[in-house]
Symmetry: C2
Subunit: 243 residues, 2 copies
DNA sequence: CGCGCTCTTGACTAGGGTCAAGTGCAGTGG
DNA sequence: CCACTGCACTTGACCCTAGTCAAGAGCGCG
């Protein structure tokens, strides 16, 4: 598996053509890289005037602290993803971002953001696209948890990660490296690790996919998509050229 | 119940002070009002180069068409809310927006958006806040469906609508006018209308809230929040002054 | 008057949660 | 080298929340 030198650039370029101005503006937005170890909090819920980052290497999670003490997983974040850029405009961070693996991130210099975007409209368009795509993913997960059963939900999420890792080049063709434990994956899918384990066994026994030793391997994407009602058009949003 | 003349302005001003430039820019963004009747599609899923609107009067829904033919409700939209502004940057609308009641909307003129925001930074800040707040609500609903039981979920959603209607002045102090049918509300909460009906009965018999004749009336917000594990700090995000 | 829609309630069922026990392995210290 | 601990994973048995099926009431409307 080859690792792209710059996942963010790769992701943006997969969809929009960036000019020299845009690329320079994007690079000027990023500060010096910082490293967090697995388990570290990168930004914590309630933090005021928190920074925002873009992930260079490694995976992160966002979790939400509830009053009952539980910490459900909201999302997973891959290289090339932004962390907490929305909540920059709230009074404080609305969730905690933590390193899932060792993670390298670059802080975003957002003081002159509006000016930067005005002067680099190609970059602006690409970033607005990223924002819209993120919302589409959250909405898709909402639908997934509300309407689909545990098996379809699991398959759907793993197929989404399949597309996301492809987009940044972290993909082998057969599958991808996935540092999520079953416990965390179950949490992100709104079910118990015990039940996820049963679902994964069924998928494995049906020769649809393997989730093992930190690798997800698809044995039959077609049948998987069909059996779990996976909506192809939803993935197209990620790759299709806009009008 | 009094209806504010301009719900959007009221919502933005509740949080940010807008200068004359910002207000002029906001008004210049809006085109001439259009009316849709209850049940009409305002923007449909898959529509390319779709418009975006701000709601002046009435309630709207966004629903997602799935391959199995079902149409789960993603969100409800109140006066002062934007419709489909995120998906402007995708190749097509990712969901259908439909009028729940008779709805009056103003189209947004987004051609010169970046320039407008650059020249009216106060407005930019307010709109970024709106976007962040919307994401926070979707995330909250995700958590709700994933982690909370039917009763807590219902109470949580109605308390959220309570806060939203207050913000735009569509509120009586005791409760608010709610044109949602039990069928639609159940759909938005990821449960069956039958079960929602049972939940509402329990809440009514416990003297916590009434949902009747298109009105939601809170009998005991304190006890409701406590019994259902409602997170107060989540609501603060909507009203607290930022740093 | 009858159709259709929302709401209501009851009886039954099943998907997935809870509880419990056990395996395998990596790290740590004796 | 071998306990010992902790964590991730696995599986079985049982149970409960919420879905499904069914029937009926109330009401607006052509």
């Amino acid at each position: 598996m080859s690792v792209a030198p710059n996942p963010l650039m790769r992701k943006l370029q997969a969809y929009h053509t960036l000019g020299a101005t845009d690329i320079a503006a994007l690079e000027a937005l990023q500060g010096e890289a910082v490293t967090f170890l697995a388990g570290d909090d990168i930004i914590f819920q309630g933090q005021k005037r928190h920074p925002s980052f873009v992930i260079l290497r490694g995976w992160a999670l966002s979790v939400k602290h509830l009053t009952d003490g539980s910490r459900p997983v909201i999302d997973v974040h891959l290289p090339g993803d932004f962390l907490a850029w929305r909540s920059l405009w709230l009074s404080s961070a609305d969730r905690t971002f933590q390193a899932l693996t060792k993670v390298e991130v670059a802080p975003l210099k957002t003081e002159r953001l509006l000016e930067t975007l005005y002067k680099a409209p190609g970059l602006a368009r690409a970033l607005l696209w990223v924002g819209a795509r993120e919302e589409a993913m959250v909405v898709e997960r909402l639908v997934s948890i509300a309407k689909r059963d545990a098996t379809a939900r699991t398959a759907h999420f793993l197929l989404e990660l399949d597309a996301r890792t492809k987009l940044i080049g972290h993909h082998s063709g057969e599958g991808f490296v996935c540092p999520l434990s079953q416990t965390i994956l179950a949490d992100a899918l709104g079910m118990t690790p015990i039940h996820l384990n049963r679902v994964l066994r069924q998928l494995r026994e049906a020769n649809l996919l393997l989730f093992r030793d930190g690798h997800v391997t698809f044995l039959d994407r077609e049948r998987l998509a069909e059996r779990t009602g996976f909506d192809r058009s939803y993935l197209d949003e990620f790759t299709k050229e806009p009008t």
